[in-house]
C-alpha cells in the first residue's frame, strides 16, 4: 500500500536501505536477507521517495547473486562498498551515510551471517547522532521532519511513535512481507562499487565459533525435603486443578461468571 509522504521543502524524500547477504536457514545458500528485504519493501511502499540501497561486505559471486535478489524487487541499483570478510563495516557505512545524508535509513534487525548481534543500527546512530527506532511495522506519515511510525510489540500489538528525522529504523518479521524478486530487473540492475579501507575486527579472531548446539531442556527440579513431595511432583499429571466448576446454572449466570473473569484479566476492550 503506497503511503503519502509529504517531505520537507518539497524536495524528494530520500531513504537509504542497508542490505546484507542472508543465508537460507535450511540450504545455507546465500540469499537476500529476510528482514532487509522487508526493509526494502517498506522503502518502496513510500510514495515518491528516492530509495538507495547500500551494502558493505565482501565481493564474490554468491553475494552478488544475493544482492541481485534485492535488485529484482524493482530497485535500479545497489551501492556496494567492498570490505574484507572479517572487517567491521560500521566505519564504512558511517562514512557513506554522512556523505549521502538521507532523511531515513531502514535496515533489518540483525544479520543472518557473522555475529548477528543487531548492533550496527545503534552504532551508526551513535556515531552520526541520529535517532534509532527498532521493530518498525509501518510508516504512517512523514511530515515536517517528523515521522509517525508503528512499532511492533510482542503478541501482535502496535505502538505509535513520533520520531524526529534523520533516523535509523530497524525492521523485523512483523513488517509486511517482501515482494517477489523478478529475474529481468535483477539482471538489468546495476551494482556500483565504491572503495573504503577495511577496518579488521580484531576481537572476533579470538572467538571460538561452532555450529549451534541444541540447548539443553530445562529440568523441573523440585526442591523438597520429603520424598513423597518429590515423587508427587514427578508423577503428577499436568492439570492445574482447583478450577471453579459451575454446573446447574442458567446460561446468564454462566455468562456472568465468564464475563467477570474476562474483565479481571483485562482482555475486554
Amino acid at each position: 500500500m503506497p503511503r503519502n509522504v509529504k517531505s520537507l521543502n518539497g524536495a524528494g524524500f530520500s531513504v537509504s536501505v542497508l542490505v546484507s547477504v542472508g543465508r537460507h536457514p535450511l540450504t545455507a545458500r546465500a540469499r537476500r536477507a529476510d528482514h532487509d528485504a522487508r526493509a526494502v519493501e517498506m522503502a518502496l511502499s513510500l510514495n515518491d521517495a528516492s530509495v538507495q540501497l547500500i551494502h558493505a561486505g565482501d565481493n564474490d559471486t554468491a553475494s552478488e547473486e544475493a544482492l541481485r535478489g534485492y535488485l529484482g524487487m524493482g530497485v535500479s541499483g545497489v551501492k556496494r562498498i567492498e570490505q574484507a570478510s572479517n572487517a567491521d563495516v560500521v566505519p564504512a557505512l558511517t562514512n557513506i551515510l554522512r556523505f549521502a545524508a538521507p532523511q531515513l535509513v531502514l535496515t533489518g534487525t540483525r544479520a543472518e551471517t557473522g555475529e548477528g548481534s543487531g548492533l550496527v543500527p545503534y552504532l551508526l546512530a551513535e556515531s552520526l547522532g541520529w535517532t534509532v527506532v527498532s521493530g518498525l511495522a509501518e510508516i504512517e506519515s512523514i511530515e515536517q521532519g517528523v515521522a509517525t511510525v508503528l512499532q511492533a510489540l510482542p503478541r501482535g500489538k502496535r505502538r505509535r511513535l513520533q520520531v524526529r528525522l534523520p533516523a535509523i529504523a530497524t525492521v523485523d518479521s512483523s513488517a509486511p512481507a517482501a515482494r517477489q524478486s523478478a529475474f529481468g530487473p535483477a539482471r538489468r540492475g546495476e551494482l556500483t562499487d565504491c572503495a573504503y579501507a577495511s577496518v579488521i575486527d580484531e576481537l572476533q579472531t579470538q572467538w571460538h565459533i561452532q555450529p549451534a548446539r541444541k540447548r539443553p531442556k530445562r529440568l523441573k527440579i523440585v526442591k523438597s525435603a520429603s520424598a513423597r513431595d518429590r515423587f508427587k511432583a514427578a508423577a503428577a499429571k499436568a492439570d492445574s486443578g482447583g478450577g471453579q466448576l459451575l454446573s446447574d446454572v442458567t446460561p446468564e449466570q454462566g455468562a456472568e461468571a465468564i464475563f467477570t473473569l474476562l474483565k479481571e484479566e483485562g482482555v475486554l476492550r
Binding site: 543465508r23 505509535r160 511513535l161 478450577g243 471453579q244 473473569l261 474483565k263
Partner: protein, 428 residues
C-alpha cells in the same frame, strides 16, 4: 520438675496391650494429651516409641488408610511448610566487593521468568567468590507490583519512579542507566535479550558505554584464562552458530540462561542515586498503543482466543461472539476436519501451540493433543456439556451447559457492558 524420667510399669504394660480397656486413654496420656490414639511418644529412656496401629484412619469402605503426607498428624503440616519456606537462607551483603547491575523488563509490573533467570545469572556472577561477594543491583523503571524482589535474588534496588519513564522512553531510561554507571560503576551489566524492551535498551546502553556486548547469551561458565574469569556461549548468525568468547561487561542474555534463585533470600534494599538525573530532550515521542484487529494477529501470539470444537452447533453465533469479544478464533481438530474452520486455526499438537493469556474453549472435550497445544496459556475457561471431561479438569473456570445459549448470553452481557461504557463516556 526434675529431669529424672519416672516410669509407670503398669501404664507401659497397658500401652503394650491394645486389647486392654484403658489402652486408648493411656496412649493419649503418654502422647502429651492429644486426642485419640497417639502414634508417637517418648519412651521411658527418652527413646521415641511408635505405635504403627495408631497411624491412619478407616476409609469409607472400612479399609484402613495411611496418609503419609503428614496431614493426619493434625496441625503439624502447616507448621512444617512455613518452616520450609523460612529455611531459605537470608543473605545480606553489607560491603559488596563489586556490583552486578540488572535491568529487568518488568512486563506488567512483575518480574517475568526471563527476568528471574537473568537474576539467577547475576547471582552466579556475584557469588562466585565466597570471600568477596558482590551485590546484585536491580534498576527498575516506573511503578511495579512485585513483592518478592528479595526472593528473586536482588540485594539493592534503584527504583526510578518518575513520570518521564512511563510508557516507552528509551532515551530517558538510557540517561538514567548512564547515571547509574557514573555513580555505582557496576562490574557487569545484565539485560534480557527480549523483544519487550530489554534487547533495545541493552544495545543502546552498550553503545553509549562504548562496550562491545555479548548478545543472545545462553550459557555462562567460569574460565580461569579469561580476563573477566568468565566465558559465555552466545547464539550468532540468526541462531545457526554458537560463539564462545570472554564474558564482556554488557551481557544480553536469552531466557533460561541460568536457574532462578530459590535457596536464598536477599535484602532488596532501596538505594537512591546520590545525584539527581538530568532531564533529557527526547527525539522519540510515545503516542500510545494502537488497537489492532485480533483476526490479523497470528494464533501463536494472540492474547485472547475463543476456540470452538465439536460441541458448537451454532457456528454463526460463535463467529459473532468472537467478533464481539474481540478474540482470535481457534479450533479443535474435529472442527477443522469437519470443515467448519480453516486449517490454520487448529490449536494443538498438529496445529498451533498457542500462548494466550486467556483461552476460552467452547465445546472442546480436551484431547491430550489439544491440551498440549494450550500448555502455556494462563487462564483457561471452558463451556462444556460433560463435566467429567479433561478440559474441565484443566480449566480455571468451567461452565456446564449448552454452548450456544451461554455464548449468546455472554454476547448480550458484553454488549450491555459496552453500552454502559458508551453512556458513561457520553455523560462525561
Amino acid at each position: 520438675m526434675s529431669e529424672i524420667i519416672r516410669r509407670d510399669p503398669r501404664r507401659e504394660w497397658i500401652a503394650r496391650n491394645r486389647l486392654h480397656p484403658e489402652y486408648a486413654n493411656v496412649l493419649a496420656d503418654m502422647g502429651g494429651g492429644g486426642g485419640g490414639a497417639v502414634s508417637e511418644w517418648q519412651g521411658p529412656n527418652g527413646a521415641v516409641r511408635k505405635n504403627p496401629r495408631a497411624i491412619g484412619f478407616i476409609g469409607p469402605n472400612g479399609v484402613k488408610r495411611i496418609d503419609r503426607s503428614g496431614l493426619q498428624q493434625g496441625g503439624q503440616s502447616a507448621a512444617t511448610t512455613t518452616a520450609a519456606r523460612d529455611s531459605r537462607r537470608m543473605v545480606t551483603i553489607d560491603q559488596p566487593a563489586f556490583l552486578v547491575a540488572v535491568v529487568p523488563d518488568m512486563t506488567g509490573g512483575r518480574l517475568s521468568t526471563h527476568d528471574k533467570d537473568l537474576l539467577g545469572l547475576a547471582r552466579r556472577l556475584a557469588d562466585a567468590d565466597a570471600e568477596r561477594p558482590g551485590a546484585v543491583v536491580a534498576i527498575l523503571f516506573g511503578e511495579h507490583k512485585e513483592a518478592a524482589l528479595g526472593e528473586a535474588g536482588i540485594d539493592q534496588v534503584v527504583h526510578l519512579d518518575d513520570n518521564s519513564y512511563a510508557g516507552f522512553a528509551p532515551e530517558a531510561c538510557l540517561a538514567a542507566l548512564s547515571g547509574v554507571e557514573r555513580e555505582m560503576a557496576p562490574r557487569f551489566w545484565l539485560l534480557p535479550d527480549s523483544p519487550l524492551g530489554g534487547s533495545e535498551l541493552g544495545r543502546r546502553l552498550a553503545v553509549r558505554l562504548g562496550e562491545r556486548p555479548a548478545t543472545q547469551v545462553w550459557q555462562v561458565e567460569a574460565d580461569a584464562h579469561s580476563e573477566t574469569s568468565w566465558r559465555c556461549t552466545a547464539r550468532g548468525a540468526a541462531g545457526s552458530v554458537d560463539i564462545t568468547r570472554h564474558l564482556p561487561r554488557v551481557v544480553l542474555a536469552l531466557a533460561e540462561c541460568a536457574e532462578p534463585v530459590s535457596e536464598t533470600r536477599h535484602a532488596a534494599q532501596p538505594v537512591a542515586l546520590p545525584q539527581p538525573l538530568p532531564d533529557v530532550l527526547g527525539r522519540l515521542k510515545d503516542m500510545g498503543e494502537v488497537a489492532v484487529d485480533p483476526a490479523s494477529v497470528s494464533l501463536a501470539e494472540a492474547e485472547f482466543i475463543l476456540s470452538a470444537g465439536n460441541g458448537v452447533k451454532d457456528w454463526e453465533g460463535y463467529h459473532r461472539a468472537a467478533q464481539v469479544l474481540g478474540a482470535a478464533k481457534g479450533a479443535s481438530r474435529v472442527a477443522v476436519d469437519d470443515g467448519f474452520m480453516a486449517r490454520d486455526r487448529q490449536v494443538g499438537a498438529s496445529g498451533t501451540w498457542v500462548s494466550a493469556r486467556v483461552y476460552v474453549a467452547v465445546g472442546i472435550s480436551g484431547a491430550i493433543q489439544h491440551l498440549q497445544g494450550i500448555q502455556s496459556c494462563d487462564k483457561v475457561v471452558t463451556i462444556n456439556l460433560d463435566e467429567r471431561c479433561d478440559m474441565v479438569k484443566r480449566a480455571d473456570l468451567a461452565v456446564i451447559g449448552d454452548a450456544g445459549e451461554i455464548l449468546a448470553a455472554l454476547v448480550a452481557r458484553v454488549e450491555r457492558y459496552r453500552e454502559q461504557q458508551q453512556e458513561n463516556r457520553d455523560a462525561a
